[in-house]
């Protein structure tokens, strides 16, 4: 039977000009990867920082490890690991020294070498942190979050700004954590990341939760939609003509045309004969399954990247 490690009820955090967190509730089960997905400014980091004890909520309840808390206690902090959105450390410290410092904050900690090995920084252990690449710094941050062998790890946008290789390295670490049975609370605005890593995805926008489900559950709600995509000279296109077919609303993204449809065969046949008739070149034509980006679009009317 699953066990809830964290429950958030009716959490609110209002600033004078914005409702950063607007009455949200959710719960996280032990050993799962829970992801807050949303665009910049959706309220993900504020939510996370309230739970981590950095910010105070205006209203709401947090039940952490079965205990209701107004704010995260020192005892609870012994059981959690945190990697913040921005990664900075005391300047001029070596990787090993940073881990030693963070280890000193907790009652129990893993051996430093074990953590260094886990985040694959063996060769960098005696390097100054400021000399590391962005991806390596991020691994130091995650290592610090793991130093106390936490039951739950909070990772706030751990891959933002990283190159694809560094991003995949971080994904590997998160999958490893999941394999160890750790609970991971992740925030991201990368739908691919959320889809790949998460057990549950909570979609946030303007401080509100607009949907919570598993990645496949979110996608299923879109029905049997498929997406036909192609690039073409947009000046020769009449979108209304395409919308008259058995499709959802056709979308233009750059020079790309995206046609969501539940009648893939019919639409494909129509598209090809229409292109032939119009003497249009259809470049990079592809058919894909829906993803969380499409879910967000269907829920909010705009793309996550907008």
């Amino acid at each position: 039977m699953s066990k809830k490690i964290l429950e958030v009820k009716n959490l609110k955090k209002y600033y004078p000009t914005v409702k950063a967190v607007d009455d949200i509730s959710f719960s996280i089960e032990k050993g799962t990867v829970f992801t807050l997905l949303g665009p910049n400014g959706a309220g993900k980091t504020t939510t996370l920082e309230i739970i981590e004890g950095i910010k105070k909520a205006d209203e709401g309840r947090i039940v952490f490890f079965g205990e209701e808390l107004k704010q995260v206690s020192d005892e609870a902090k012994q059981k959690i690991g945190v990697s913040l959105q921005s990664t900075n450390f005391i300047p001029h410290l070596k990787v090993k020294e940073v881990f030693e410092l963070f280890a000193s904050f907790f009652k129990k900690s893993l051996p430093i070498e074990e953590v260094i090995g886990f985040v694959s920084l063996e060769e960098k252990r005696n390097d100054l942190v400021e000399k590391l690449s962005g991806g390596q710094k991020q691994r130091v941050a995650i290592g610090c979050a793991l130093i106390n062998d936490p039951e739950m790890v909070f990772l706030d946008e751990p891959t933002t700004g990283l190159d694809p290789q560094a991003r995949r390295n971080i994904w590997g670490i998160i999958e490893h954590l999941k394999g160890q049975g750790k609970t991971v609370f992740l925030t991201t605005h990368y739908m691919e990341e959320a889809q790949k890593l998460s057990d549950m995805v909570c979609i946030m926008d303007y401080g509100k939760i607009i949907a919570i489900d598993t990645p496949s559950g979110h996608i299923k709600k879109l029905g049997e939609l498929n997406y036909v995509e192609f690039a073409a000279d947009l000046e020769q296109l009449d979108i209304d003509e395409l919308n008259a077919w058995d499709v959802e609303e056709v979308e233009i993204e750059g020079d790309k045309v995206i046609i969501p449809t539940k009648s893939l065969h019919i639409v494909l046949e129509k598209l090809l004969s229409w292109a032939k008739r119009k003497e249009l070149d259809l470049n990079d034509i592809s058919i894909r399954q829906p993803n969380l980006e499409d879910v967000f679009l269907s829920l909010t009317g705009r793309r996550l990247r907008d």
Partner: protein, 393 residues
Amino acid sequence: MRNQLFKSLLISGLREKETIFWILLFPLILFTIMVLIFSNMTGEDLNFKMAVIDHSGDGMGSTIIHQVFEDISTTENPEDDPLYSIIDVKNKDQALVLLKEQHIDVIVEIPENFNQNFNKVVFFSKISSISTDNKPTIIVESVPMRNLSKLASDVMKQILAEVNLEAAKRMNISIPDATISTEMVGQTQDFNYADYFLAGILIMGFFSTGFLNMGINMTYFRRKGIFKRFACTPIKKSKLISATILSNLVFMVMSFVILLIYAKLFYHVTWAIFYPESILFILISAILSLSFGIFLGSVSKTPNGASGLANILFFPMQFLGGLYFPVFDLSPAVRWFVYINPITYLAAGMRQSMGLMDAPLPYYTLFLIPILWTAVLLLISVKIFKWDGGEIA
């Protein structure tokens, strides 16, 4: 492991070149510069270079003058520099060139008719009055815009005035003897500029560490989210602050020890800095500088802002606080700042306790004003300090 944060902050500081320079090396450089400049400006190790041009030929007057010049250009101890060194010149033109080019500081010219006029004074002063034209005159030439040259000229005029007095006495002209005695006021030991600056530079070093270094670092830590990251761990706010303060105190001790050893070895300062009251002023200086640092870390949003504010505040505070020169007789336009400036009291208190110079202020104010400043700064800081707009639980 308990002191790991303190250790990390210390290591971080020691690896920062700017910290090493400004906290440990700069006070030595400044101390050296100040002692060299001011000790030379005020007679210690003064050595004026003088050219003597004598058009008078042999005679009693010129013989006396040459005897005086010989006296002032020799010393009992051959290792000491004489007050004046006489530089040989061929003629006045060459002397003028040397004066303009700053190779000499003053020219003393004995005119052609000097001995004649001198003899007239000696022989006829009692039976008739001497006209102005017939008075024996010595010409002293200097460059007024050059401090050393002006000083050399002024001292020479004093010497010649003494010669006049001596000559008058020998001619039995009634001039009462003036007895000059010296007495040290507000000083219990010989004045030494190295000791004077040791107190000032010591306070400057403390403020560089506590005020500038700690204040800017605290702002940096907040701005970069380092405090925020610590807030996610079980470390207590009090431990964080105490480790920060302690690491800066260690830098202050290092700065103090290095400066003291340097000043002792090369400038032979006294041990007066270790008088109990001096130590008390050292402690108050350290605490006040840290309070300024915490205040700076509280009011500044960015490290650049903190750096700018620190310089705006500290620059006048150190120069109008008597760290490098006396400030109590400055013009009224700036005197108000001298009196509200806590560094004024620390510098004055330190020097008074070292027996160097009494402050023209009630003794209790030397303690009280800095302590009041400390209390006010800490109260304001407690009210406005933010870790990240959030709180450590």
